[in-house]
Subunit: 224 residues, 2 copies
């Protein structure tokens, strides 16, 4: 059942941060209007809604803008609490989930820095990415199936770029960080498969070729 709301999401087709919000709203069954932003030529609406960072996603609920995807996820959880929780009920388990949200927020950028660098810097960045993935493997998924606890939640959405975008960033940059062998990161790979198998993800139409082409152009801008 869909919940109808005065709700707009300003996004960009290639931003992993935007998909966190799309999937959270889909999991909650909350309807929203999606507004595509041209992030190379930003709209007045975006600049007004997120004057500090000028970035997508921005969620506009009843005319009020909320920026920063991790902040938006907390807002969604608090505003539509009854349906499909994104955080466990128990305060200690919630703190464990938030620990991984914070870890993701702090490390995701280092983790995909390999995509924004070249040469020796890229070699170093790819090594650092693998170190971060190793922590996710050994600590994040040590004693549970999902980062967020016993079902997909906020922390899993924070890491959703790994199952859904990492392979495109690898293709666009010509570097593999995840490894081909099933012996590399077995828990993380099983989690990736579980994540991709969710209905809300399976029902997402990725324009893969367009996205890889876009990432290649962005990469050239970063490394030049």
């Amino acid at each position: 059942m869909e919940i109808k709301e005065d709700l707009k999401l300003i996004g960009s087709f290639a931003s992993p941060f935007v998909y966190r919000i799309i999937w959270a709203l889909n999991l909650k069954g909350v309807e929203f209007e999606y507004v595509e932003e041209d992030i190379l030529n930003k709209s007045q609406m975006l600049l007004k809604c997120n004057p500090v960072h000028k970035k997508v996603p921005v969620l506009i609920h009843r005319g009020k803008p909320i920026a920063e995807s991790a902040v938006i996820l907390e807002y969604i959880e608090e505003t539509w609490p009854g349906v499909r929780c994104l955080l466990p009920k128990d305060p200690y388990e919630r703190s464990a989930a938030r620990f991984w949200v914070k870890f993701g927020e702090d490390k995701n950028r280092s983790c995909y820095m390999f995509f924004m660098t070249a040469g020796e810097k890229q070699v170093k960045a790819a090594r650092e990415a693998r170190e971060i993935l190793s922590i996710l493997e050994s600590e994040g998924l040590k004693d549970k199936k999902y980062f967020g606890g016993s079902e997909v939640g906020m922390a899993d959405l924070i890491f959703s770029w790994i199952p859904c975008f990492l392979d495109m960033l690898e293709e666009a940059s010509g570097v593999k960080v995840m490894g081909e062998s099933s012996e590399d990161f077995p828990r993380l790979k099983a989690w990736c498969q579980e994540f991709r198998d969710m209905d809300v993800v399976k029902n997402t139409k990725f324009h893969r070729q367009e996205m890889v082409a876009y990432y290649k152009r962005r990469r050239l801008m970063f490394i030049s």
Copy 2:
């Protein structure tokens, strides 16, 4: 009235991140046992409680450890909700407060990088710090007295290193980023004064000389 709990805080006398938690618990009136950690020779307890980051603060509630000060603040708010809220009640205002929590978490390190650098790098870092302080001045305190809303809350605790530690970091590094004139950052300076005037802060015994000496030693480790 104090609330008695099985509660331990592992901290370090010179860590601004630890004082966020001390003051949050003081504001809530929750009693705790403080355990001083030697962060140059970390205890087994710390390594076991925070295996990913190996850092203070760690809060241990009924035997269960919680790491990362921003995560601990959310836990404190959820566990002792009735007393002296750290987040506004309204979901939109909560998201605005969390926006500044996130901003602080992302930018605080850049903001005190001047303390960890020397020469040209330090000049650049001090400039970047002032740019971040300018955003706090113009956007963070634009239409409200506190970062967290109408009273001191989670976001203010995240920035508490500015009123309470910045001057010591400036002294230890020989660089001023906040400026001497009252025309520099007037809102931020007024907020700093309000923050320092709170009872929980006034009642905190800082060992200022020891702390500055410690920061000087740490600085030498960073720049060498």
